[in-house]
Symmetry: none
Subunit: 220 residues, 4 copies
């Protein structure tokens, strides 16, 4: 949850934050698994407590109610996206940045963003304005970040189209969301790697299109 602490916790004996994740995190991890597996509203508080290996009542010491768990989850999602964005910024090329950004949902270590969860989150957004605001906010931040990355990247300058960075970002995000939605249809047995490959295949095709100087590459 706070990878940042690695920077400061170097000489410390036992960094308890890492080894014993606090209860909220434990519960949110369990909730994410359940939500991804069954959806928000199909997940019972008992499901979460069982997944977390604690009693039902204990959840209520850390969250006011089920709604609050969903909100906290959405909130954490926001923070995670921001972290991913941060990492994406540090990639050497635009393409690599985008690959980091758009495969976070299927290749991160276990209890991270999962496509089913994100699709559910959008579905929820359509009826819960609070969730809608949050998702819009996440999306806005991420889009700004990418827009900026594009504006600064040398590839974008050489492109053959006349779309603005912002328009490009919009297209890129649309394709990413579309592929994430598509991911939902893949049999659950598919490995993370396969999912990731499938996503990248299509996405790469798009940005090759967007950020390639001219027709030359293919038959040059």
């Amino acid at each position: 949850m706070n990878e940042r602490s690695f920077i400061f916790a170097v000489p410390m004996p036992q960094p308890p934050q890492e080894s014993i994740p606090d209860r909220r995190t434990q519960i949110l991890n369990a909730a994410m698994i359940c939500f991804a597996k069954r959806g928000f509203h199909q997940t019972s508080m008992h499901d979460i407590s069982a997944e977390a290996g604690i009693s039902v009542g204990l959840i209520y010491r850390y969250f006011e109610n089920k709604e609050a768990v969903i909100s906290a989850m959405a909130d954490r999602h926001k923070r995670e996206i921001n972290e991913v964005l941060e990492r994406a910024r540090q990639a050497p090329t635009l393409l690599e940045s985008l690959e980091i950004l758009f495969t976070a949902h299927c290749c991160e270590n276990s209890p991270k963003v999962q496509s089913a969860f994100v699709v559910d989150l959008y579905a929820e957004a359509s009826r819960n304005p609070q969730v809608a605001n949050l998702v819009r906010d996440v999306l806005g931040t991420a889009m700004e970040g990418v827009t900026e990355l594009i504006a600064q990247s040398p590839e974008a300058g050489r492109a053959s189209h006349n779309l603005t960075p912002s328009e490009l970002a919009e297209l890129i995000f649309a394709v990413a969301r579309g592929m994430l939605m598509y991911d939902t249809l893949q049999p659950q047995e598919m490995t993370e790697g396969e999912r990731r490959a499938r996503q990248l295949e299509v996405t790469r095709r798009l940005w090759r299109l967007l950020f390639t100087a001219e027709t030359e590459p293919a038959y040059a």
Copy 2:
């Protein structure tokens, strides 16, 4: 499965089903409104019956259970997409075909496909294999249709990229799904027209990119 038709359809080919929508249709219309408004699992059978103006029990005469209503809904969605695809095929240009195809979800007359419903459907697909199969099937058919349209279209030939029709269709559908997901975030007060415009704006940008001969527009 229009039970009515057994009674009336003896001598005549097939007239009354359309004018007097049968109970199943009436129920599915009501269900679509509820599903779009509240989601599958937030919608109670009572909600549907109230929306349809009938009793709860009556729904069970036409559908085995709630699950069956969702399946039938998905099924109808499939048929509707196929109809839209048929209409799309008859458009004079590829661009127009695509516009027909990709705004069905926001500009059709009332109880038709709605973005929240489709997003929910994908979410459902991720946990219900039957729904997943159905959605995959719909998607497959539609993609084949579009692939074919592209293959036959003159614009595609003049394009500056070297993507196959199938790859292009994949990209197009990804963007469409992505924009549909985005639609979910729009305030509910937005009119159908505004939604449609928003969707098309981005989508058009994509195909202008895909189907335009050169940086300098085709007519230069």
Copy 3:
């Protein structure tokens, strides 16, 4: 619930209102028994449903929630008190009127007012303003009725004190409430008759005091 209907329903074949008390009444009867036995907040919805011989869910077809059952109960109590008041008005003497009025809570046929219930109602009134209003209203009506009865009764005129009818009513009601509260301490095995006798004994002593012309009776 509507004894009044006797007036109109004379020639009818089968007066269904009486023989099959409607569900609300059935539930309220059960609730009264439970409330008297265990108190409002110790009574579970399951207790009520079991006492009524129906399922828990059914209660919710007739009452929005538990609170609503309590309110309806209080409301019915109000109507019952008004009926008792009506009967009391028709008694030949003031004393008899008062006896009717103040023994209703312990001598009526089964699911009627019970002292534990009334005491609980007052306790509830102290924290639920809605209940407080209702109780105040009942009390106000009853006090007005009694004040009027006193004002019109010949006994009151001959009394040796100089208290107004309203002051007398206030005293009478205070004693009645006090004895009702006392009733709460009686072992539950005590019969209705014994309870009634106990109440009357003290109450009679009061009004003999209030409505007797002079000291003469005792040692005349």
Copy 4:
């Protein structure tokens, strides 16, 4: 049961218990506030601990369970009533004695007897025999005390009725309880003073009636 005293009370007889109210008292004070505000069964152990400013667990060090808190509360109530009775005995006239006795519930310093609590106590008595016994005991003692006061008072002798001291006490207590019950209906904003005045007004009317020689006041 002041465990503290074991530590300090070795040489001295019994001084510190009073100045530093022990934990039990602190808890009971908090409980009284909660019980009066919400009723026994609406009050959670957490409510009490919060009101007392201690942890929940600590309550269990001093009371076996919630039931025991209620019992102890009732017990303390008994002792308090006895204290009041003692003070009442020392008043110069019967009227003054009674005034002391019957306004204890609304004019004492903070965490003392409160009408809502007493009404709840009687309600509880109707279903908990142990509480019933205790209340009966309190009442019996108080009544005996008052009966004795009446028997010894010169006013009682001059009265115009022929009721025995015991019968008079019974009437007086009934009115007092009745007014306490009535107090429950008063808006919570009413000050202690107003409540007290309201109570006394009616009660005084009664004893003026009981202890006045004649229609023409005693001094005519």
